[in-house]
Symmetry: C2
Subunit: 302 residues, 2 copies
Amino acid sequence: MAPAYLSGDKAAIEEFLSRFDTFLFDCDGVLWSGDHLFPKVPETLEMLRSRGKRLVFVTNNSTKSRADYKKKFDKLGIPAEVNEVFGSSYSAAVYIARILKLPAPKNKVFVLGESGIEQELDAEGVPYIGGTDPAFRRDIEQSDFDNLANGSALDPDVGVVLIGLDFHVNYLKLATAYQYLQRGVIFLATNTDSSLPMAHSLFPGAGAVGAGVVKAIGKEPLSLGKPSQAMMDAVEGKFHFDRSRTCMVGDRMNTDIQFGIDGKLGGTLAVLTGVSKKEEFLAEGAPTVPAAYVDSLGDLLG
Amino acid sequence: MAPAYLSGDKAAIEEFLSRFDTFLFDCDGVLWSGDHLFPKVPETLEMLRSRGKRLVFVTNNSTKSRADYKKKFDKLGIPAEVNEVFGSSYSAAVYIARILKLPAPKNKVFVLGESGIEQELDAEGVPYIGGTDPAFRRDIEQSDFDNLANGSALDPDVGVVLIGLDFHVNYLKLATAYQYLQRGVIFLATNTDSSLPMAHSLFPGAGAVGAGVVKAIGKEPLSLGKPSQAMMDAVEGKFHFDRSRTCMVGDRMNTDIQFGIDGKLGGTLAVLTGVSKKEEFLAEGAPTVPAAYVDSLGDLLG
């Protein structure tokens, strides 16, 4: 079915909003782009809250913890609570700590990623190595090849490789992750987004940073970010919403909107301020089509 | 058809060798592993030469130039000439200079790789940036995101992104390659090997190093290494052999042996001193099956 275009149509907006109690929001490309807040975003969220809607911010950005996100919301003047934020790093940490429940000490995580992942692992009491450790932020040397191959540079307690967005990715980290995986540890990713919108352009996302490891080992990680339903299950486990009265709002068809469709939510709403253009879902035979779309989130104010 | 097992079978070896005038050899996993020369390799190559066979060393390792390879042959005591070596960096340089023939100055190459690529581009008179330039061996900064996005950090003369094995891969290089590709430049790879045999183990290969760029842009590069027939055409263009009387010798089914089969060579010979195990090609329904195999190259001495 063709998606409903809501911008400028007060009656259609009213009808659409009345169908939902909970709104799951993607952040980047929906609320803001980088450090640029989109017009009327705080007012729109305030309007939804005033009507008794519950808001959850579901983000694949693994470089930030929920606490980091709260700071960003504050800085941009968007009213939100830490508990309303559900990031892919948090999702991964919860999965490792509460679902995998590997017996200590064999529950250590080798992290390819930034401090957001480390903070969430810390919060869930999961031990880790790698991440922002300066010992891994250097060129590989001949002795590393030998010591990785013979295992002496590996920690025998590592049971999981977790890949997220790492701005400090290098050959040593890729090789180390690959070595653990060759020894059979569990392979997880915070998310597998191919690109990252920054500075009005696209940069390599977590999926691109981790692609080297995926290519080397020849298998995909379990993703704990959108559109993986492992994330939907985790969000629902925390917020206990009625899926039929929940709407996913996002800018990317293949992550946000697919996430809502696969999760059998009552609706999905695309905004055109991010990655996907309307041609992508209006085209004949488009693989992912939202229930409705607006030019920008602020259009919901009518 | 099941491959013939030649080790220890003098008559079968004689018959097999008599069918070919030219032997294309993979190097790593066939002649040596890292710095370890396999037994009787120089004697075997000498035996083949004494029977008038032409030898060509066809390697996907892009970190070494033909001159670097010659040094390695010398060091290990393997008699060979620079002109007998055909590496994927040389293959890529020849393709860019003689086939693509982009009009100067728009023929500059952004290199993700080591000095082997640079040497071969130099030899073919192709200008390049990136590669081993220390300016790219650093962390990405906020200003890089801005300057890459607005193009001010990009060279307008770049017409090709060339990906090879880079032990100094980092986010800045991946992002820069991705930015050029978003602007529509030609996408090449020296090879797309997922792994690199080192220290009796496997490390990320050129295909893994470049996988981040492939994932981000969502398309595959044209590979100038095995099993791409672009490389076979280049090898044939230089050596003018009769394909029906040429045999490819290698350790990897999905690169070496597939390369020979796709190239309609008269035969393929697998050796078991490298990546592929015999179970891989003896299995029912194996995708790539060599014409014959030996435990190690030296077994051809009988």
